[in-house]
């Protein structure tokens, strides 16, 4: 048999998908930081988490996603504050004063207490293009959780609330397990907080 007839296949890259997922993780991360100051449900979830809580949500395999060129050359006060979407990670945690902070997209050098990961980029695309809700993706075993599962589920609830704020109802209904009724979330309050979250998340 002529073995040269059968070449190797090295994996390709879907750059647009990577950029989209990086952008979505950055948007959600900054929105959680903003919403943690304003929404009572998110405040309550984070208050029940330990003081040294730091979680990362990333895409596997880590080796396939090398650090962005900008992430390597920009100074740390830009990369650590998460001013730009620079990687396929979202790191959120409590700082020394107990405030919820988005800590950028580089997990190196940080003490992560809860590590969540999506098994592959296509699964992340399913979640972030709302073809599968977060809870459905969990049920389909697309996530892995390394740490306390109770804390992981608290983060899933936080993500559900954030998606209600960030997305219009027609899309949010696909993303969350159950869209809150008028009695559970006052629509005036919802729209007001939506404007405030967007303003605080994207004005530095």
């Amino acid at each position: 048999m002529n073995i040269h007839k059968y070449p190797e296949y090295k994996p390709g890259k879907k750059l647009l998908s990577r950029m989209y997922v990086a952008l979505m993780l950055w948007v959600v991360g900054r929105a959680i930081q903003a919403a943690a100051k304003m929404d009572k449900d998110i405040k309550k979830e984070f208050s029940e988490l330990p003081d040294d809580f730091v979680m990362s949500l990333g895409i596997l395999p880590e080796e396939a996603y090398q650090p962005n060129f900008l992430a390597r050359i920009l100074p740390s006060f830009i990369t650590e504050r998460g001013i730009l979407p620079l990687g396929l990670y979202m790191i959120i945690g409590k700082d020394k004063k107990g405030r919820v902070r988005y800590m950028g997209s580089n997990p190196k050098g940080k003490r992560i207490t809860l590590q969540m990961a999506i098994k592959n980029l296509q699964a992340a695309m399913l979640v972030f293009t709302f073809r599968e809700s977060t809870t459905t993706a969990f049920a389909h075993d697309r996530f892995i959780v390394n740490g306390d599962l109770v804390q992981g589920l608290a983060i899933v609830r936080v993500l559900n609330v954030i998606e209600v704020y960030l997305l219009p109802k027609i899309i949010a209904k696909l993303a969350v397990k159950r869209y809150p009724k008028w009695s559970e979330m006052n629509p005036i309050r919802k729209h007001l907080l939506r404007i405030l979250i967007y303003l605080r998340a994207f004005t530095f």
Partner: protein
């Protein structure tokens, strides 16, 4: 439910089924410390364009496909296995992915033995020598072709069997992009194999709760989706359903002794060169008809899984056994337009029937006599039901 005094059950495959199942393979292979698989597939799968979505599923991962060999036809031989072993070693591969069933999986299992045992000969294994080394991870990606043995510990190489529990695949990925059925005839053959294996495992013989559970699951899926698959073969949903039914039937068959229809069909396929699915499809109503005539006690699960709980509850207990077998034959009726109705229509020579009957009886290890097998074959040849 009858619990036997003693039974054994083994299924070691992790099954991933559904949307984007292929994309999970890189993660699963990593769990087995494998990053460079050798991919085996058939010429037919390659020509149908199934390799493009397969290769794309590994984008954005660290998996490097060592090679994609797409020259497997309808037969797995020792010389093919040796060539594949040379390719495997030269590329430094550490796992095997079989895209497609039947001969592709047989070749993959034979290759796995050669590269794991570090040998060039399978003759000792044909004669029952045990496999002593840890085998490489074997991934099975079903397409529309199957021979019912993929999830078993059996490999058919050069028309001889190698049997070992270690040969079972490690991971199975059923993806809607790979399972659309190419034609009515292919749907009928896959359905016939799954129906035969599941109905024989659930229907009669010594009780085995786990195997019967898988078989009843397969029958429920077939009752709902098999007629649709034959009418509209290209539908993705029915393709995935049929693939899942084939997996369940294969697991059930691997954990129970083979039934009369499988044994006769296997020998008939060897003697005539017809596909196993066609032989099973033709023999099924005659085999079950003969078992009804012989007053074989069928399990209630057969009626319950094919006809549903309402029909099961409304049938008197004494009649459920035969009613279940009749329902199985009715379900087979949905394949009639796509398969020949008798062995004569299949152009099987009559003089072969006694030889096939004797070979099937010998393979059954005295479970069925050559008279039993020959009676089924004669009726199948004439096309006259019992």
């Amino acid at each position: 439910m009858q619990i036997p005094d003693y039974y054994e059950f083994l299924n070691q495959a992790k099954i991933l089924s559904g949307n984007k199942a292929l994309e999970h393979l890189s993660f699963e292979l990593r769990g087995h410390d494998a990053q460079k698989p050798l991919v085996l597939t058939s010429r037919a799968a390659s020509q149908r364009g199934l390799l493009k979505p397969f290769i794309k599923a590994f984008y954005d991962s660290t998996v490097v496909l060592g090679a994609i060999y797409d020259g497997i036809r309808d037969y797995a031989g020792i010389s093919l296995a040796r060539d594949l072993a040379e390719l495997f070693r030269s590329r430094g591969c550490d796992s095997i992915i079989a895209v497609g069933g039947g001969a592709v999986v047989n070749a993959a299992k034979a290759l796995n033995i050669l590269v794991s045992e570090k040998t060039d000969s399978l003759f000792d294994f044909f004669n029952g020598a045990p496999i002593t080394k840890q085998l490489k991870p074997l991934v099975f990606v079903p397409t529309c072709e199957t021979d019912g043995l993929e999830l078993s510990g059996m490999a058919k190489v050069d028309n001889r069997m190698i049997t070992s529990e270690l040969l079972m695949p490690t991971i199975v990925a059923v993806d809607p992009r790979m399972t659309p059925i190419c034609s009515k005839e292919c749907a009928a053959e896959t359905g016939a194999i799954s129906l035969t294996l599941a109905a024989e495992a659930a229907g009669y013989g010594s009780p085995a709760p786990m195997a019967e559970a898988y078989a009843e699951c397969a029958l429920q899926i077939l009752a709902e989706f098999m007629p649709k698959a034959v009418r509209r073969p290209g539908n993705k949903k029915t393709g995935v359903a049929l693939a899942n039914a084939a997996l369940c039937a294969s697991i059930a068959h691997a954990n129970k002794p083979a039934g009369i229809i499988f044994l006769i069909a296997d020998e008939l396929a060897k003697a005539t060169g017809h596909s196993l699915g066609t032989c099973m499809g033709v023999l099924f109503p005659f085999g079950f008809g003969y078992l009804i005539k012989r007053n074989t006690p069928f399990s209630d699960g057969l009626l319950r899984s094919i006809a549903g709980f309402d029909a099961y509850a409304s049938t008197p207990a004494a009649e459920r056994s035969n009613r279940g077998a009749e329902k199985a034959i009715e379900l087979h009726g949905s394949l009639k337009r796509a398969l020949p109705e008798s062995l004569r229509a299949l152009r099987v020579q009559r003089y072969l029937l006694p030889r096939v009957g004797e070979a099937a009886a010998a393979a059954s290890r005295k479970q069925f006599s050559s008279n039993d097998c020959l009676t089924v074959l004669e009726h199948a040849w004439e096309g006259t039901l019992f």
